[in-house]
């Protein structure tokens, strides 16, 4: 029995690896998730006959049905734009599950076969990391979902915050070590330990601004992987160890890559915040906002030789990607060169815009990363910014006091003309004014991105 289960776990681990490998290439990505899915199914099914399971089957099946059912419904129902927060919440569940496994193992009276101290230390470490990933991910979900309670980052900031957080963390670690070293199964001690860990995760995530959330979610994803691996060691489960460590290491690398794309270190994201970053008052923005009708914008683009489109979260919210591509096709038919420029952190996650443009059918060879296209803005007649804000704010280059100073941006302001499609006059996710919108060569096209795109299509068609 043991050999059979270990063999199946081994097969599952291999399937996960093949799946992830296939997911790392666009043409095979779709089959990759299926491979990994088969791995998960065989591992789950075989676990029902695991020799260490002595009962509680009804509870097990009920839990799988309820948890899986809700998650299935949620994953099917949400809009594509809400995907980042769904990743956050499912990730939090994984962390919570790892922590709950640790809770069972710690609370249980193992009798004669008491777990060795080293195993208990691993269990406690996994519990701590899992609980932090859980509460942190829940906060990240709340922020991305723009729930009212989480909306105001500033209200969660107070002086000495990092010291308080460090103290909570230290207390949780000490308590965890006491539990492990004394073989304590005291419910009170273990409860306090978990509460401290949960509090630390929430306090860590609460003051972080929404714009930094992708990095934070990615980090918590890596945390969960690590927590799963640690609990895998406790249970002697090789599938959990391998899968957990792979996620832990790939998640860490992904986090570093994202942070680098924003020109910020991970510690900078975690331990400082936008408000505290700027060394003084941001430079006052001069000039005025100059509105433009969609019909005029259409004419300007129709007679341009080269148009670069810069999509942002606003395009995602309005689901405007199909209309934008339809418009682009009209321009291409007229002989205009159209390119799409994607900032690494446009939207709410790296690659978010690529996914949406792919959905609309935009070919890969028209989509360019920031490094590839940034030089080209000076040769573009029109740069069309659709609901992007902070990633095109020239203050990142020039204004040392700006909270986003130093972040690489798309040099949209170098284009001859800039058109900005924007819902209203509000500020971006970083909460700051954008000097680009006030520039002499910028015109504002107000309205919902999808409606504006429809108007632009009409405008271009009217030209015949």
């Amino acid at each position: 029995m043991g050999y059979l289960i270990e063999t199946i776990y081994f097969v599952a681990a291999v399937l996960f690896i093949i799946g992830l490998k296939r997911m790392s290439h666009p043409t095979t990505a779709r089959s990759g998730i299926l491979w990994a899915g088969y791995g998960m199914v065989v591992a789950t099914v075989i676990t029902f006959i695991h020799p260490q399971i002595h009962g509680n089957y009804p509870l097990m099946i009920a839990a799988i049905a309820i948890g899986g059912g809700i998650a299935w419904w949620g994953a099917k129902k949400v809009a594509m734009t809400a995907m980042p927060q769904m990743i956050a919440i499912y990730n939090g569940m994984g962390g919570g599950a790892a922590a709950a496994i640790a809770a069972v193992e710690l609370l249980k009276d193992h009798g004669q076969q008491a777990l060795p101290v080293s195993t208990l230390v691993l269990a406690v470490a996994g519990a701590l990391i899992g609980a932090v990933a859980f509460s942190g991910s829940v906060v990240a979900f709340g922020k991305l979902q723009e729930l009212k309670f989480f909306k105001d980052d500033a209200k969660f900031r107070f002086t000495g915050q990092q010291k308080v957080n460090a103290a909570i963390f230290a207390l949780a670690v000490v308590l965890g070590l006491i539990i492990a070293l004394s073989h304590s199964t005291s419910g009170v001690l273990i409860s306090v330990f978990f509460l401290l860990a949960l509090a630390f995760g929430a306090m860590m995530a609460l003051p972080i601004g929404g714009a930094d959330m992708p990095v934070v979610i990615s980090l918590f994803n890596a945390f969960t992987g690590l927590a799963v691996a640690l609990e895998g060691f406790v249970l002697g489960n090789s599938a959990m160890i391998i899968a957990g460590i792979i996620v832990g290491s790939s998640g860490t690398l992904l986090t570093l890559m994202m942070a680098k794309a924003m020109n910020r270190s991970v510690s900078n994201v975690l331990f400082s915040n936008w408000a505290a970053l700027g060394s003084g008052e941001a430079q006052a923005v001069t000039g005025s906002l100059k509105p433009m009708e969609p019909s005029d914008a259409a004419i300007q683009m129709a007679y341009a030789a080269k148009v670069i489109i810069v999509p942002g979260y606003g395009m995602a919210v309005a689901q405007a990607q199909h209309k934008i591509w339809e418009m682009s096709k009209l321009l291409i038919e007229r002989g205009t060169e159209v390119k799409f420029a994607i900032h690494p952190v446009a939207g709410r996650m790296p690659g978010h815009m690529n996914v949406l443009l792919a959905e609309a059918g935009v070919p890969y060879d028209l989509i360019f990363d920031m490094e590839e296209i940034n030089e080209e803005f000076s040769t573009a007649d029109v740069a069309l910014v659709i609901g992007a804000n902070d990633v095109v704010n020239p203050a990142a280059r020039t204004d040392k006091a700006s909270p986003i100073y130093g972040m690489p941006i798309l040099n949209v302001d170098h284009a001859k003309n800039v058109q900005v499609i924007k819902r209203g006059k509000g500020v971006g996710f970083a909460g700051i004014e954008n000097a680009l919108f006030f520039a002499d060569n910028t015109r504002m096209v107000y309205g919902d991105a999808q409606k504006v795109a429809a108007a632009l299509i009409q405008g271009i068609k009217d030209l015949g």
């Binding site: 790392s24 509870l59 097990m60 839990a63 995907m83 290491s249 996650m349």
Partner: protein, 103 residues
Amino acid sequence: MEIMKQVVEFFSPIYILMLAGFLGYEIISRVPVILHTPLMSGTNFVHGIVLVGAMVALGQAQTPTEQLWGFVAVLMGAGNAVGGFFVTERMLEMFKSSKGQEK
């Protein structure tokens, strides 16, 4: 020989740890930006394997408290696995539509 066996037993998890760690690094490091979000979602699904550990933990639970936490673990583990799968699948489904779209 007994001592060698113990040494091997001690080191084999560490080897797994190291190899799996490098593997994760390799898988991600050559990925185009376009796939970062789906891949993050995919790795999110893969750590849903925590479900099998949760099942074992619940299967061993005896007292009501242990059963409660075991139940919570399975519930959340199943949520992670199922939710992670369908979110990733939906995301990757779009890549299908981007191929051969020249009408």
